[in-house]
């Protein structure tokens, strides 16, 4: 075999190998990756089997996060992590240029949406929903933030946000 033929074989072989590798990786899904998208927090999410106080409280928190995130124009997931610690909250407000007032208003709006969702899901009696809305509308801003921020107190002790309405809540649970 002369050198010209060997040169052609070498270059041809290189082209075939390169195209084959790229083709195989493409077929195997190399170009198909897109990160799993988070849902739009402004879209309504149906509550999932709210059974028992703990489950209701969980769905309530998630609805409140959705409502607040929708107001702030961020994802529910970003807000959930942002409210995990005071430092995280500070980084979040700096990054998105959000004042504490704006954050608190959004959190309060989120809590009100959670009450609406709970009522719609049949998890909260309408008789209780009205006074609860009133409580949340007048809740101090810091307390509103704390309500979402401190999930443990929310889940362990509904007294933390329902105040005197707790006994009603338990009474009216379906």
């Amino acid at each position: 075999m002369n050198d010209g033929r060997r040169s052609q074989l070498l270059v041809g072989g290189a082209i075939i190998a390169a195209v084959a590798l790229v083709g195989i990786y493409l077929v195997a899904g190399g170009a198909s990756y897109t990160p799993a998208k988070t849902q739009d927090p402004c879209k309504h999410r149906t509550w999932r089997d709210p059974e028992g106080l703990q489950q209701i409280a969980e769905q309530f928190t998630l609805s409140a996060l959705d409502g607040a995130a929708c107001q702030l124009g961020v994802s529910r997931e970003t807000l959930a992590r942002a409210l995990a610690t005071p430092e995280a909250r500070e980084r979040f407000t700096e990054r998105y240029d959000i004042s504490d007032d704006k954050l608190a208003r959004a959190v309060r709006a989120g809590l009100l949406r959670a009450v609406d969702d709970a009522e719609e899901a049949g998890a909260l009696n309408p008789l209780l929903a009205a006074p609860l809305r009133e409580t949340l509308r007048s809740i101090p801003l810091d307390q509103a933030i704390e309500l979402i921020n401190n999930a443990e107190s929310l889940l362990d002790d509904v007294q933390g946000f329902l105040g005197p309405a707790q006994s009603f809540l338990e009474q009216f649970l379906p």
Partner: protein, 457 residues
């Protein structure tokens, strides 16, 4: 002198070239460690590579001229001494600025040594062609072995040891060269024949620069993907990237089968670009999937670098000056490659990381684990993100301790794996555009290689 060439001197000269050219890539695997220890940014740490290569690119040709003026023996001896001294300074540097300054000085010494050696080798081995072959092989071997050696040293000792170990090696390589330097000083006559310089081979050097940019981008990105993206240890990453030099050894065997340098250069550039294309399209975050592209890049780089260096030096004199041009082109290419890909992937990795973390948090919030546990996990993930300051985090510790209840434990383990998968795929995907760009740069080298078929400069 050729047949009876003193082996220790030839070995010392080859060692000097290999050592200096290994230095352009030896720190690649140590970069993540330097990045953490000196508390800098990805862009900042990339200058540990860039500074060395930039100074080499700028200094190689002037250094070659200097070697011809003052004598290659003296030039090589001084170069190696400066290289060793600056290596010591790199090893004890505790600030990025000090390290970068020492790296620049190291490159100056390296440029002097490596170009002077090309002037010394023909007289030592008796043939310019053989000298060029030894010089190119020593350089390619050093550059190929550099990352793996650097990774091993970083893992087993420290990143500083990479530089400190170079000091005695440089001095050992310098011993036989000191004899030549003394001879030059005694006679006061240059041992090399002064000949017409001639113009550098523009197309071969341009192609060398482009291919080197692609290869540097590949190596730099692959190491960062393995260590920062997939969180391999430096030694693990060293083992993975050692596939490339091993494949390069295989590629160098093909050199003898085809005489046409243009065909070898074209085939090599295509293989390098194809391999980079594969890395840009990794279907999963799995180490095994990096191996076929690495084999392709390794074979390709052996073919293309030797063919282009051979073309650039062929029939041109003096060798040191033209060798200086090839060194300059290769290192300029490395600088271009790293500077081109760094801003793209640092931006992409930050974005992908955010999306992946959001997606992972969504998985947790929507999961069936107890509410208190899921909110606790979201908090711990935030803490991990805070601790790892902008890097792709290892998320496992956020899930410790695992719940005692077997059912709950299975749920949590599944969540952890899902989140880590999201992060790994996000990190992998963040590197894709940069690998794609490096592949494109590699393909661009086919233009000067193709033009060289018709235009002989």
């Amino acid at each position: 002198m050729g047949a009876e060439a003193p082996r220790p001197r030839v070995a010392a000269l080859a060692l000097a070239v290999g050592l200096v050219l290994a230095d352009s890539s030896i720190v690649v695997l140590a970069l993540p460690e330097i990045y953490r220890e000196l508390d800098t940014s990805v862009a900042g740490v990339s200058w540990v590579l860039v500074s060395f290569n930039l100074v080499m690119a700028l200094a190689a040709v002037p250094a070659a001229h200097l070697a011809r003026r003052v004598g290659p023996g003296r030039s090589a001896a001084v170069g190696l001494a400066v290289f060793a001294g600056a290596g010591l300074a790199c090893g004890i540097a505790d600030q990025l600025s000090t390290l970068l300054a020492a790296r620049c000085v190291q490159a100056l010494g390296g440029a002097l040594a490596v170009t002077a050696v090309l002037e010394l080798l023909p007289a030592t081995v008796g043939s310019e062609r053989r000298a060029a072959a030894i010089w190119a092989t020593a350089g390619a071997t050093g550059a190929a072995l550099g990352p793996a050696v650097g990774g091993l040293l970083t893992e087993l000792v420290s990143w500083q040891s990479i530089f400190l170990i170079q000091v005695p090696i440089a001095l050992v390589a310098a011993v036989p060269i000191f004899a030549v330097a003394r001879q030059e000083a005694a006679t006061g006559v240059l041992s090399t024949e002064l000949r017409q310089t001639g113009r550098p081979h523009l197309l071969a050097n341009l192609a060398l620069a482009l291919v080197s940019a692609a290869i540097a981008g590949a190596l730099f990105l692959l190491v960062l993907l393995l260590i920062e993206g997939w969180r391999l240890t430096p030694i693990g990453a060293a083992i993975v990237v050692s596939v490339m030099p091993l494949a390069a050894l295989l590629g160098s065997r093909l050199d003898g089968l085809v005489r046409s340098a243009r065909a070898r250069a074209a085939a090599g550039a295509i293989l390098v670009s194809g391999g980079l294309g594969g890395l840009a399209l990794l279907p999963k975050a799995e180490v095994a999937l990096t191996l076929p592209p690495q084999v392709m890049i390794g074979i390709g780089l052996a073919l293309v670098l030797s063919a282009l260096t051979e073309t650039a030096l062929s029939g041109r004199a003096p060798q040191a000056i033209h060798g200086g041009w090839t060194i300059s082109a290769r290192h300029a290419g490395v600088v271009i490659g790293i500077l081109a890909v760094t801003p793209i992937f640092t931006h992409d990795i930050a974005e992908q990381r955010h999306d992946a973390i959001d997606a992972g948090t969504a998985v947790i919030l929507d999961s069936r684990v107890p509410p208190l546990l899921k909110l606790d996990l979201a908090q711990k993930i935030e803490s991990r993100l805070d601790q790892e300051k902008g890097k792709v985090p290892t998320i496992g510790p956020a899930f410790e301790p695992l719940p005692d209840d077997p059912e709950e434990r299975d749920e949590v383990v599944q969540l952890r794996d899902e989140l880590q998968e999201q992060l790994n795929r996000g990190a992998t995907h963040a590197f894709s555009p940069s690998f794609g760009l490096a592949a494109l740069i590699g393909l661009l080298s086919l233009i000067p290689i193709g033009l060289a078929r018709r235009i002989e400069l």
